[in-house]
């Protein structure tokens, strides 16, 4: 199997992978990451989301071999110095998870939405989550959490 170097959460990791192997399996099977999860394998649910070049990408349909040295950010690397990211903290505050299996997709998309536009309107937040699914029906709490994260981050800056 060919060997690839991936730049994940600020560290270079070497993996063996088939040329067509999706990044998801490289992260979860070879590197034992726990944030991105298998949900659909066809890019429809967001459960496997990672940020590549700060863009939310469905790692189940992106081959690991195609990523090159672009920086990959995952839920596993989102905490800094043992502290939850403000988005994660807001999810805890609003209790925005039931089974939590899909939380990875929502949190990573929310991070991306608020990095691109820290002042995102409620409508922009809602539109930012295209094709992110939650089966338990936690969307009400998730929207509250993302808005809270936006407001908390704005307060922290001022």
């Amino acid at each position: 199997m060919p060997t690839y170097r991936l730049n994940v959460d600020g560290a270079v990791r070497t993996i063996e992978a088939e040329k067509d192997e999706p990044l998801l399996y490289a992260l979860t099977d070879a590197l034992k990451f726990k944030g991105p999860k298998f949900g659909c394998g066809v890019g429809q649910c967001g459960t496997c989301t990672v940020l590549v070049n700060d863009q939310p990408i469905r790692s189940c349909i992106l081959s690991a071999s195609s990523v090159g040295n672009k920086p990959i950010r995952t839920l596993d690397g989102l905490m800094q110095n043992g502290q939850l990211h403000p988005v994660q903290a807001a999810f805890v505050e609003e209790q925005a998870a039931q089974c939590g299996y899909c939380a990875n997709g929502w949190v990573m998309h929310a991070v991306s939405i608020l990095e691109k536009n820290p002042k995102a309107s409620d409508a922009q937040i809602q539109q930012g989550f295209a094709n992110v699914q939650c089966r338990c029906g936690t969307q009400i709490a998730i929207l509250r959490a993302v808005k809270k994260a936006r407001d908390n981050m704005a307060t922290a800056k001022t």
Binding site: M1, A17, E18, D20, E21, P22, Y25, T28, D29, A30, K32, F33, K34, G35, K37, F38, G39, C40, G41, V42, Q44, C45, T47, T74, L75, D76, L78, M79, L84, Q88, F91, V92, Q95, A96, A97, Q98, C99, G100, Y101, C102, A103, N104, V107, Q126, F129, N131, V132, Q133, C134, R135, C136, G137, T138, Q139, I140, A141, L143
Partner: protein, 761 residues
């Protein structure tokens, strides 16, 4: 690597140390049990130590024989245990669904987590406190009556310096105190000690809102899910399904996967799977393996288009007049029909309910390590103890040699696919003598999971010249709610079992509503229809959250609305006139008032948008819920949006209001999803719902504009379940709102936009 300890936290390590030498995991013929006692495997419920342990540091371990479906039931159990023991909430650690530590309490089932599951723990915690206070009395030389407990410290009321902690009294040691067991296993399992639990008025922690601790772990990639379990020497597995349901296996061509390193096929009966050293190679092998299947006619006669014709025309397999689990009762519809025949007005309506899928966000996953006649299983099944029995039977090994560790997993909502992959992994692990991780695909998780049964609810009512009800007929006719059982206790209830020769059972059940409303000449019964395909069907039917209740209440609660209008009464007034139970009356009134009843005018239309509201009631699981929805419906697109939802909810003694609120919010979205979007598509040959575009669920655009929850707490009433009653109401509440908005009745769910648009055209 000690693989059974992959998901051990510190408190579990403490517990493992505590149970060394204890004789759990063997067949226990309990000496105190009566002749009718069920076969018991695992820790004896008759020992207080099974339920409650005090570690050397004074922390408390409570062993819970159920699991959490993502609603924080463990936190509520901890609140109860902390209050009964008088320890701080943070000191209580609840283990869930681990066959090594807990007796079979039935797993996640019928919103019983607290109303039944917490009862033995409440009793055990009370008994533990009694034993500890008596021990403290001896040690301190103070009468029990002169002692009090605060945060695990027993002290003399007269002299607080005289004190001893639970840790000092028993930390790390066994109680060796007996509990009286009611000889039941499953949901009904209960134990009693000499101590009586506290009166709820003394509770300080129960009734207050606390936030779940697992959410921080879940949003920061620290929680262990089944999918993360990777023991050393692991094989990854995928199964291969036939293109036409019911096709028989004729052969596999192993040369077709020879190019994939380490890939091997596995065949037994009509079950086909592949294994490989890496997950991706298992996926590739499953896609590449050439399999020859027999040519069979499509088993789903008429397909989706004809499903309601199929139900109408089918000869019933069984019929009964009472609700689920209620036994058998004869009924006679003649008096009702006679009353209708002489009524001034007769109303009739059929309500149709589509097949729905559990469609878990993560399809079935199971990791199993079979070593000789022993097996270790990691799973997110709702019923770990029953899974143990079933897999032991499947593998032909003693149940006591099978240990099941429940893990967090994708939400499952009933008899989902969660039980399937562990069985398949077990078979493969036995065959390859290596640990196996079976992961289902999205297609399998949607197309091949057990389905909620499609049904037709037939309603008839008569009114006399004064618009009084003369007769009321309810008949549910649908696919079998028990086509496969709600517990995975035998291989005949899972696909791989049926594919390898375990013939499915023959038991039938649907459901009828409880007698909330009092009508003259009231009759109700259900009939089940034969499955399309007897064995190993992707359309086999089973429990989906609030099983067969969403169907029956869609009929009942929509028809109430229809009859009320014909009788010239507001549907709320009509309900109140016929309801008997004061708790039902209260939730209906409260939810209606939140929508402006009784002063609110009928629905309005502005341009393409019509606005209206509707209500539905459900009581069950010891709880009461009335859901009122204000909706907007767009005549051009057929899209329905819930603008405001008000729920009045009474679940008796409320343990954690934050948890109840979250459970209700989840039911709002899943209720909207099942009402507006969810239906399994299929033709004669196969299920065509295979992903999130072919099986649509609610998304952010469906989030209501306003969510209004009224939680009614009744500390004097037993704890009720909060996971199901509200969701039942959504189809009828929304369909009734559509009528208020537009004057059009829609009698089929889901109310997908295309269907609504046609109905309004």
């Amino acid at each position: 690597m000690d693989i059974m300890n992959l998901n051990r936290r510190d408190f579990l390590r403490t517990q493992v140390a505590l149970v060394v030498g204890a004789s759990w995991a063997v067949m226990v013929g309990d000496a105190a049990a009566q002749a009718v006692a069920p076969v018991l495997v695992g820790p004896p419920p008759t020992a207080l130590d099974t339920w409650i342990r005090i570690a050397a540091d004074g922390s408390v371990v409570a062993n819970f024989g159920k699991m959490d479906c993502g609603q924080g039931i463990d936190l509520a159990v901890a609140q109860i245990v902390a209050d009964e023991l008088d320890v701080a909430l943070d000191k209580v650690h609840v283990t869930m669904g681990d066959t090594r530590f807990s007796p079979n309490q039935g797993g996640g089932s019928a919103s019983t987590g607290l109303r039944m599951g917490a009862v033995p723990l409440r009793n055990a915690a009370a008994e533990a406190r009694r034993v500890l206070v008596e021990a403290a009395s001896l040690k301190l030389g103070v009468n029990v009556a002169g002692l009090s407990v605060e945060d695990g410290r027993v002290f003399a009321l007269a002299d607080q310096a005289k004190s001893v902690t639970y840790a000092e009294l028993i930390g790390g040691k066994a109680f060796s105190t007996p509990m009286e067991w009611n000889n039941q296993i499953g949901n009904a399992l209960n134990v009693n000690g000499k101590a009586k639990p506290k009166d709820p008025s003394q509770y300080k922690i129960v009734g207050k809102g606390f936030k779940r601790k697992d959410i921080a772990l879940k949003v920061s990639a620290q929680e262990h899910y089944t999918a993360h379990i990777r023991p050393d020497n692991l094989l990854h597995a995928r199964s291969v399904r036939p293109p036409v349901a019911g096709a028989k296996l004729l052969g596999v061509d192993n040369a077709s996967i020879a190019h994939i390193k380490g890939a091997k096929s596995f065949v037994k009966g009509d079950f086909v799977a592949v294994v490989a050293e890496t997950e991706w190679n298992a996926v590739r092998a499953a896609r590449s393996l050439k399999v020859k299947w027999s040519d069979v006619p499509g088993p789903f006669t008429g397909g989706e288009e004809k499903v309601y014709d199929y139900i109408r025309q089918a000869t019933p397999t069984a019929a009964n007049a009472i609700s689920m689990f209620g036994g058998k009762k004869a009924w006679d519809e003649k008096p009702t029909l006679a009353a209708l025949s002489t009524s001034a007005k007769v109303l009739e309506a059929d309500y149709e309910c589509a097949f729905q899928s559990h469609a878990r966000i993560g399809p079935s996953c199971g990791v199993v390590d079979v070593r000789g006649d022993k097996a270790e299983i990691w799973t997110d099944t709702q019923k770990p103890h029953f899974l143990r029995m079933g897999i032991a039977k499947f593998l032909g090994i003693p149940p006591g040699n099978v240990q099941v560790k429940w893990m967090h997993g994708a939400g499952s909502y009933g008899r989902s696919d969660s039980d399937e992959a562990p069985y398949e992994a077990a078979l493969l692990s036995q065959a390859f003598a290596r640990p196996v991780r079976m992961q289902w695909s999205r297609e399998e998780g949607t197309a091949w999971d057990p389905k909620a049964p499609a049904a037709i609810i037939t309603m008839k009512a008569g009114l006399d010249i004064n618009n009084q009800v003369t007769g009321w007929l309810f008949k549910a006719k649908g696919f079998n709610g028990w086509d496969v059982r709600f517990t995975p206790e035998s291989p005949e209830h899972v696909l791989v079992g049926m594919l390898t020769g375990h013939k499915k059972w023959n038991a039938y059940n649907f459901n009828v509503p409880e007698e909330s409303y009092k009508f003259n000449n009231h009759v109700h019964w259900w009939e089940t229809v034969p499955p399309y395909l007897q064995e190993a069907s992707p359309m086999r039917t089973a429990h989906l959250r609030a099983p067969q209740e969403m169907q029956t209440r869609f009929g009942q609660e929509s028809f109430i609305d229809e009859v009320a209008h014909v009788a010239g009464m507001h549907p709320v007034d009509f309900r109140l006139k016929h309801l008997q139970d004061s708790r039902e009356i209260e939730v209906v009134k409260v939810a209606a008032e939140r929508m402006g009843w009784p002063n609110r005018k009928k629905g309005t239309t502005k341009g393409d948008i019509s606005l209206g509201w509707g209500l539905a009631l459900h009581s069950g699981y010891g709880s009461y819920a009335a859901v009122a929805c204000e909706i907007e419906v767009n005549k051009q697109t057929g899209r329905i949006w819930v603008k405001k939802v008000s729920i009045a909810h009474d679940c008796g003694m409320m343990v954690n209001p934050i948890g109840v609120r979250a459970a209700l919010e989840g039911q709002i979205m899943q209720g909207i999803s099942r009402t507006l979007h969810e239906e399994v598509h299929f033709d004669e040959k196969r299920v065509k719902s295979v992903d999130w575009t072919t099986y649509r669920i609610a998304n952010l655009n469906d989030v209501p504009g306003e969510v209004d929850l009224v939680l009614i707490n009744r500390p004097d009433k037993p704890m009720g379940g909060a996971g199901e009653p509200a969701i039942v109401c959504f189809p009828a509440a929304i369909a009734n709102a559509v009528f208020d908005a537009t004057g059009v009745r829609i009698r089929r769910y889901p109310l997908v936009a295309e269907r609504v648009k046609k109905a309004l055209a």
